[in-house]
Symmetry: C2
Amino acid sequence: MQITLNSPLDMHLHLRDGEMLKLVAPLSAKYFSWALVMPNLSPSIKTKEDIIAYKTRILEATKWEQFIPYMSVFFQKNLNYEILKELKNEILVVKMYPDGVTTNSSWGVKSIDLWEIGHIFEAMQKLEIPLSIHGETNDFILDREKNFLPTYELLASTYPKLKIIMEHITNKESISLLKKYDNLFATITLHHLSITLDDVIGWMLCPHNFCKPIAKTESDRQALLALALEADEKIMFWSDSAPHPKEKKESWNGSAGVFTAPIILPMLVELFEKHNKLENLEKFISKNAQKIYGIQAVKKEIILEKKDFLIPDMYGNVVPFFAGKIISWSVKE
Amino acid sequence: MQITLNSPLDMHLHLRDGEMLKLVAPLSAKYFSWALVMPNLSPSIKTKEDIIAYKTRILEATKWEQFIPYMSVFFQKNLNYEILKELKNEILVVKMYPDGVTTNSSWGVKSIDLWEIGHIFEAMQKLEIPLSIHGETNDFILDREKNFLPTYELLASTYPKLKIIMEHITNKESISLLKKYDNLFATITLHHLSITLDDVIGWMLCPHNFCKPIAKTESDRQALLALALEADEKIMFWSDSAPHPKEKKESWNGSAGVFTAPIILPMLVELFEKHNKLENLEKFISKNAQKIYGIQAVKKEIILEKKDFLIPDMYGNVVPFFAGKIISWSVKE
């Protein structure tokens, strides 16, 4: 049995830089048509020159003609209409991190003060540049996403033509808000469809399941799964694949992020097949995003066959998500 | 400035066995008058012979005349009046673990069926042997303690003369239940007075703060702290000091348990001093337990002086709680 996926897109990918970029970029390029690359390097990607230079390094690392890295720029308070106009052709989104919520996000905004930065959102609305947000506050770990929802609501209602992407949503409250505003869209990761907080701290401590936002309850997971399986038009897949070397994960002070890039397609096919929803998978991993961003993906067919795939213990110095697990689908090489 | 503590007691201590026992037992013996030692070895401590042999190994490891290890036995369904009567002089409590909730607890009970095991509680009540319970279910990690409360309530109301120890309580709901029944008592750890879930998974992943029950919210911590600072008579200190080698904590599959034994007294003195409650500390770490268990502690004075104490990075192969932190009190050597 085989299945062909047309132009899978990864709408949120961390490719890092240097040696790590060389290790992980080919693993995404092999299976995806394009990806939206996150700017949280150290220092972060802020200027046109940063973007072009980073894109060049990615293309060198992938050596793959059929893989297009779409770029993003780090939200900063000095952005304005002129700068955004100049950046527009280089980026797909402006990416906003609240201060301190994830890897290299300490340059992020501390609060959203529309009086001070509203003109940036107005400019983005006018230029039709979507705003992508890691929507978490710095509150108690399990309240962070929920407590950020009023900010999404403020932005969505104040700038009704600004497309706002609620990144990697993980709970039912976010789903309710998503449905309330036409200009809100959301992305869901493979790992938030697969695990709950119990898989991080419920039994033993599992650093390779530790990510931000943290995985929530089983009923949250079920709600996300229902949305993904129906390929709701406001939902896009994105991996948030975030590699860290093994020693940075299994540490006294472990980094957040799970590395899923090379296992996404087999796992998603297995998941959608299990729930008899294979016909919706292409919408979830490609068509919805094309529609939301108003772009057309490069044609690229990925064939998967029903054949056991043992997830390796390591890719280079990175432990992948679900290392050692056997998946019933493989990408045809 | 100096302070003298009379006969500090550690009402819940994991001393392990073999090399680990030799490493950690002297660190408790140095600072405590006696300790109640947990039976969750592998295999667990179940018979009179097990108890006596383990106690002998502990005494050999401590080589400290003024330290008495009180023993406990693992709750098992084959206990009965005769067995308990024979064990009574060897143990202070019967210790019950629900199946699978912590290190080496897989021999624990799966559910509390009074029809099947009620005669054991009746025998304990008659023999005046307290029941000490790690009160957690196997549900979602943050609900486990809360969901066990009905079982505490069933036992407390069915056996009103049985002293029941709610071990290492961590949330407000447990405090409410504790106050409801005269025969319920509880213990509180240093780590649950010191950290919240944010210190485990809130920012980086901190395996040396990973314990069971997992630390909860700041308002739970504040409620526990209020009870401890007042040295409420139903509350005893216990460390639940649970050493694991560094490599078992900083692992792809990390063990639960924090190692606090050698830092407890300085940290507690600092904490009680900060809140102007030093006069209650001796009740919390000694007198309340003596009253609850109806025993008299061996006299042993521990003198602490106001002098910086840098918590070492390691004790042998074990990373202590708050490694590297400076505490304003030291035990006078």
